[in-house]
Every structure is written in C-alpha cells, then in structure tokens.
Symmetry: C2
Subunit: 513 residues, 2 copies
C-alpha cells in the first residue's frame, strides 16, 4: 500500500488513495488560502485597466471565427462589423458577467475529492498538454499512451493534486481516437477532476459521454453536474478561433467549467507593458466568458490568467519572471472585480528539472497563490514552457505543493500552544526534545518532507550524494509501482469500453470540425 | 569592465561597481517592499504571544552569564535572583524598548550604498559564518583566507547585495588575528556594510578601529556613525552567554547595530508549537534588545528572527519549511509591535546547490520578505544549514534576489502603459514585436536574467545541456576574474595595515575574553 518510507506524512503522501480508503489530511485535499490576497495595483488603477479593456471591446472588438458564436453575440446586443469582428456593448457585457457564478463545484467520483473553486478555495492541476515527456532513464521523447497513463497513476497518489490535465500527448494514438483513450485513462486510473480538450464538437461530446458513464449519471443529470474543466485560449491579440468558440458553446450547454485564458505574452501577442498586457488579457477574457453566459446564464466559468513576457532579445517566452508575478497579483484583483474564480499557473522556461526550474516555478506559484488564484494549472511536472512534462519535476513540484498546503493550515494560538508551562519546565539551557509537551505533538507538529533531504553532509555523501533530481526520479517510479486503480463499478467500465469500441468503429472524431 | 554577456541588465548586474562608477539601478540598491506585510496571526493572537513572553521574562527570567550585564539590568529596575538569573519588570522593559529606533541608517564608504532599514526598506546580506566553502571544481573544503576574499569580491559585484557577512571562516588564519584580516578584506575589497563578530572585547574594538580608519572618521565621530552590524545569538532556551553580553554592551557604546537573534528551533531549543517557539524567541529578543537600550538609549538595534523546526525523527535542523514561513510572517508582526527593524534569513538544509536548495531558500525568502523583514541575513550562498557557503548557490541566490528587486519596483499605470493606442494599432491577430510602443520600451521593459536559460531545448542541448548549477559556477568565476578593488584613499589603507601590524605584534586578540 505504501512506499515503505518512514515518517508520518511522508508515507501517507505517496500512498495509494482509493475511494475505499478514507484516511487523508482534509487540508491537503481542500486548500483554503488563509491570507488576504496581495494586490499589485490600487482600486483606481484596476478600474483604469477595466475601463480600457471595455474600450478595446467596444471600439476595436474581437474577431470571432465561428458563425454560431457571432450569432449568439448579436442576439445578446453586440454588434457585428466587417471581417467577423464583434464589438461589445459594455453594459450588456457587464450584465452578462453578473450571471457568472462566484463559486464552482466540480464533482469527483470520490466525494472527498470534489472541489469547490472561488473565494479562498484553491485547487491544483498537473501539468497539461506537453508533446514530450522526460525522465532521467529515458531522456526527452515524444509522449505515448503508456507515458500518459504513468503520469495519471502518479498524479492519483498525491492528495495535493486535485485536477488532472492532459499530462502528455499520447502521440502513438491516432488523433481522432486520442480523446477517447485519454478520457478513459483519467476516469479509470484516477479520481482527479478531468480536463476535456476543445478539439471539435464530436471529441467534446465523446469525452463528456465517457465522463457521464464514469459517474453513472443520467443524460438529464449530466448538464447539471459539473465534472470536468476545459481551457479556451483566445488567439491573442483579440481573436477567438473556431475550435475555441465551439468549445465555449458546447461546454456551457453541457454545464461543464470553461476557463478562458488569453495567451498574452507581453512584447509579442500583447503590449510590452504589464498594464497594457493586462488590458488585452481582460478584454479577451471578458469576451469569451460572456459567450458562456449568453449560451446558458450561470454556466460555470473561470477567468484565466497566463500573462507573462518574452525574452526581448530572442522572442522566447519566459515564465516565473518578476513581470509574471506582478501580472498574477493584478489578475487576482481583476477576477475579484467580476466575482469569478481565477485560474493561474506555475510554469518555468527551464529545460531541466534543476534549480532554475524550482525557482521559476516557485516564483509563479507564490504570485498565483498570494494573488488569489483559485485554480493552479500546470502545478506539477511542467518544463520548457510546457513542451515537456518531467517525472522528476513532477515530484519536485509535489513537494513544494505539500509545503504550501501546510503553510495554508491555520495555527491555533491557545494556552497549550503558547507553551508557557513547557518553557517553565525546561527553563534555562535545557532541551525540549523529551518534554511531555513535545511528546504529545511531535508526530504531527511539522511537515515531514517527501523529497527534501535534511541529513548532514556526511550521511548525504555516504548515501551516494544523490541530488534532488535523482531522489525525485526514484520517488516517481516507486510511486508508479505502488499504483492500484481506484475502485469503479465494473458495469461503468464496461459501458465506457463499449462506447469507445462503437466510436472507434465509426472512425472516431473529426478533430477539425 | 563587464562579463561580456549580452543583454541590458545582464551585463550590468555582474559589472564591477566602484565608487567612481555611479551608473546603477537605484531600485536594486534601495529595496522598498511595495506590498503590506502578510500577517500570520490576528492582533489578539500577537498580543497573547507578547503577553506570554513578558510572563516568561517576569517569572522565569533569563540566565545572564556576564557580571557587567547583570549589573546593568539591575540598574534599570530588573531583579537578579539565584544562579545569575535576571527577572524582568514588564513596564521597565517596555519603557526601554520605546527608546529603540524604528529606522537604522548604516553608512557605506560609497554613499550610494548606504542603507536605511525599517518600515518598507529591505537590505540583503551574503551568507555568513560557514566553516566550509564549496564549488564544483574544488568540492567542499574548510574555508581559507583566499576563499574568504573570493566571496567578498563576488559579493561586491552585485547591487542586490547590500551587506556582507563573514562569508566563510578563514581557518588558515590564527584565531586571535582572524578578525583583523577579515575586517581588512571587507573594507578593502568591498563597499558593502560589514559584519563584526562578537568574539570578545579586544576583537570587537580592533574591528571597529579598522572600520573607523576605512571611513576616515574621528574617534569622536565613530560612535555616532553606524557603519557595521553584529548578531548576538541568545543561547536558547533563555540564556545570554558572556561573549554575547560583551558584544551587546560594546556595540551599543560604539553606536553600531546589534541584531538579537534567538536560535529557537522548535522541538529542540524551543517548544514544538509555533506560538510557543515565538514566545521564546520574543522573550529572548526583548531581553537582549533592552540591554542595548540600558547601555545607551536609542542605540541601533534589530529584532532577529530565526525560528524554524527540526526533523523530529533525527533532530536535524530544517529551514525553508512551512513552519519557517509562518514564523517569519508572525515575526514581522512582533517586530512591528515594538516598532523596530526585523532581521530574517533565506536558509536551506540542502547539501547541494540543487532544486531543494532553490525551493527551500525561496520559501524562506518569500516568508521573510512578505512578512516584512528589513534585513535578510544569509541571502546568498548558504547551504547545509550554514555549514557551507557555495559558489554556485551564491549565484542562484543572486538571480532570485534580482528577481525580487524587480518585483518590488512599482508599476506605473498611465495612458501610455495601458497601451490602448498600441492595441488599436496592432488589432486582431497581429504582433507587438515591432511596434513603436514596444521599440520605445523593450530595452528596460523586462528583467533580463543573469543565470536563467530561456533558450529552447535544441539550443540548450547543442550548447552542452549545462544545468543551472554548472552555469552558476561559470558566472561566479567570471565575476571573480573581473573584480577590481573599489577605490580607497591610500593613506587609509596604510593606516589600517599599520594598525594590523601593531596588533599582530601585540599577539592579536584574546577571543575568550
């Protein structure tokens, strides 16, 4: 059941979690930020960003490359001008945004893993969408179905991961069938809340059908039960392409959460100034979010922030930069302005799971979490600006996430924790190690690390001087080896497999539709 | 003059900074935290910690192993009981604390490097006090005078380092002469504000005399010009030893800044609970800080926080832990309760300059900086809980510090930075790379990294796949090779050398006195 690692939480952290097993640290599964969010700008400055983005939407507009979406916008009081451009009426837009819910509850098959996002609640996803994966043994390589399953299994083991992304692209599965197998793997191997790609009407419908079967929901129940999340990236600057429009519409009809994330890299697809990049992010986010509310008022949505900057010498995207941190703080202010949950991320541009990867991802994570993000995408495993998911980085990130889960736990101040009696007992020059006050608490007093090595140099050296990346590699594969599928009723799995067989026979999905 | 690295700040960051050279980014030399501090506890809870620490001081007291210090305490209304224990009158103690200044200005020989601590102002020091040093070429080894000088030279090159600690113990210099050569090296090789060890009356006086000569101050001017800082560690629990008392008294008489830092590792020298460890930290800090105010009301002091926890399985100290972060947030609240500057740190327990070192130090740093610390000790180079200073870790830390200096810079929200016109110009699906708005700003828009590699995987691989630690090694030694001593009047250096020759002839200092 466990990795046979000593120590309290260290063992439990890597333990298989099945629906039959109800022992877990609730605070690791349900994060609540205990601190007020850090603010980058004054209220007036945020209002200037808001007002400027409304001006962009009103006077410049968004190019919308889908006929149905343009029709929906027109039906809600927006204006279509030449060349597929929708111009937005600010009052109509804000009236639509008022329908967007402040909190979204996403259901897991395991009720202890159901997540509510919004306010101080925070959920974490794995890295998502990488074409490549890597580990110390196999190096960097195109992802396969087997790699995809491996990352799903390891994600299932850690309670601080709440959502699962498309961890790596299974490039050995034909494109038209890929969504079927990706969704089945997530449903069968994990209890994490799954991501559904916006890869066309058929692929979305197939994915939702597999999730409906996995949850045992009736066709009428599914659209009122949010069990998945998707990301629509606007095509910055100021465009919504056909696939994204299709996804926004279909997710809203199906009652599934849609995150509108503009890909606003300052200096490239967005202005070189942080306020300017935020104006563009905000305009695109509002345009996409309000489309969901036109389709179905009250449908679950999330404001997505991914604003970062590029290296101005090369154009390469950068993450975890000072500019990224400031944009993350400001994005929290903007999402709260509209009273919707905020999605942020924990990315890095590093090519290796090394010190740079650790400090850039942690910069991103502090910016996101202290800025008030409710959902951290790419929380574990991301490397190379998303081109690779790394086994070792995954474990490094899990360690940092576990530390954050512990930071977010409140500390009680009571007569017992103030410890006057213990201090009076030990007095001058003594030691607290063996006191009753310590013995009563030592097992749970402190976070016990999964990965960090706190031994002295001599012990570290004598054990082979394994650095953090090497230790992370071992933990990843030990965790993988310990995986057992979480329980799922046999008839549900059979129904899923029958559905996949039928859809395969039909030729899969047309991804471009 | 530069490292011949391309890019705006990248070159300048590693540039030799002499007093003749006045081109620098003022925001890197004078950090101001733009965010309100993060608070761990409610005001009531902080008051409970305060009140409990006063109860500890009143009813249990502090063991004070120096006759003069006990006499000073008695003269200020405190009570001596058996076994050298001083019990504190809370009202008298708080009246003394009211004399402690809210801000301390520490003077550099180069006025652009003079630092004021307190309020939102933040200063950074190098790592300090390690017996060992390490780099990839030479491995881990006992420190020498040459190593000491090398770290001084590299520290001088980076504007985000404001203070210099005793970077590594020069073990090849006899103990009684060591302070003379350490102080001379700092004075001659750097313009950073120096640390003075509390290693007995003679060593302190010698160090102050060298600094007086370096600054060209008269004997009457020196005690009114703060040019150095020292740390007195209480011998937790609840003891002040002879050397520390001696230092507190001598620093106050000389007008030099004294940081009272309790070494309160929860579960070992302090209670296993965070509130209990903070009670002990606070009691010891107040006891030491008020001694300075008895000696000389208004003398410059700083509240030192180093509360962390141990690994309860082994007793090994741990740093950058969730508990460390919470204690750092809370310590800011306590220091502000007494209106004195706060010292915190950026430590790690890692044995290698790897991912663990990066994520633990950054956890510490975020806790310290967002908690409101004014002085970050061990800001660059620390490894192994302080047993080693690492060349590579030094550069990794400088990179993270530079990122923080940039995060702390305010962002202007103006019509120009909101960039409406640039957005109107680029419109849908265009690119901002070549716009005038970008061209006007691209050179200074974003932080340009010293160490981080943002190139794509193919370029990274083709350049030898050097990881962050290997790149940091190269930057350290390139920076060292580019060092030139900052200007100092020749007569001052001659006076210092004559003084050192005289004190050497006299046999140096008796460190135990």
């Amino acid at each position: 059941m466990t990795l046979q690692r000593s120590g309290g939480r260290r063992g439990r952290a890597a333990k298989r979690a099945s629906s039959a097993e109800q022992t877990f640290d609730a605070a690791w599964r349900q994060w609540k930020r205990p601190y007020p969010p850090v603010e980058q700008f004054s209220a007036d400055e945020i209002e200037s960003i808001h007002e400027t983005s409304l001006r962009v939407l009103r006077d410049i507009g968004i190019k919308v490359l889908n006929d149905e979406a343009r029709g929906l916008y027109r039906s809600a009081g927006m204006t279509e001008v030449d060349d597929k451009i929708i111009r937005f009426d600010p009052d109509a837009l804000m009236a639509l945004m008022a329908h967007a819910p402040a909190d979204v509850t996403l259901h897991s098959r395991n009720p202890t893993r159901t997540q509510t996002l919004g306010g101080p609640n925070v959920g974490i996803t794995t890295s998502a969408g990488s074409p490549n994966c890597s580990d110390l043994q196999g190096g960097r390589r195109p992802g396969t179905h087997a790699d995809y399953d491996n990352f799903c299994k390891v994600a299932q083991a850690f309670d601080v991961i709440h959502f699962i992304g498309p961890v790596v692209e299974p490039q050995d599965v034909p494109l038209g069938l890929r969504h079927l197998h990706m969704t089945r793997s997530i449903a069968a191997l994990t209890e994490k809340i799954p991501f559904v790609y916006f890869r066309g009407r058929q692929a979305i419908a197939d994915s939702y059908e597999i999730l409906r079967l996995a949850h045992g929901l009736g066709e009428d129940e599914f659209p009122n039960t949010c069990v998945s999340y998707s990301v629509a990236n606007s095509n910055s600057p100021l465009q919504l392409d056909g696939l994204m429009c299709r996804g926004i519409i279909d997710a809203a009809r199906a009652g599934q959460m849609m995150i509108l994330t503009p890909f606003t890299l300052a200096g490239a697809m967005a202005p070189v100034t942080i306020p300017g990049a935020l104006v563009m992010q905000n305009a695109e986010a509002l345009a996409g979010l309000c489309l969901s509310q036109i389709v179905r008022p009250g449908s679950p949505v999330c404001y997505g922030s991914f604003t970062s900057n590029v290296d101005m010498r090369t154009g390469a995207p950068a993450f975890g930069t000072p500019e990224y941190v400031k944009a993350a703080f400001a994005s929290g202010q903007l999402a709260r302005r509209y009273n919707v949950p905020l999605r942020s991320s924990a990315p890095t541009a590093s090519n290796a799971p090394d010190a740079q990867a650790a400090y850039e991802s942690q910069m991103s994570l502090w910016g996101a979490l202290m800025g008030g993000a409710n959902l951290i995408l790419h929380g574990a495993g991301w490397l190379e600006g998303g081109l690779t998911i790394s086994a070792e980085k995954f474990i490094i990130d899990v360690e940092v996430l576990q530390m954050f889960a512990e930071i977010f736990k409140p500390v009680e101040v009571t007569e017992a924790t103030l410890a006057y009696d213990a201090i009076a007992d030990v007095r001058h020059g003594g030691h607290f190690f063996g006191t009753q006050h310590t013995l009563d608490r030592f097992e749970t007093a402190f976070y016990s690390p999964l990965l960090s090595d706190w031994s002295n140099f001599e012990n570290y050296r004598d054990r082979g001087a394994m650095d953090t990346t090497q230790r992370a590699n071992r933990i990843f594969f030990d965790t993988l080896a310990a995986h057992e599928d979480p329980a799922m009723p046999q008839d549900r799995l059979e129904a899923i497999d029958a559905f996949i067989a039928k859809r395969t026979q039909e030729g899969g999905a047309d991804i471009e539709q």
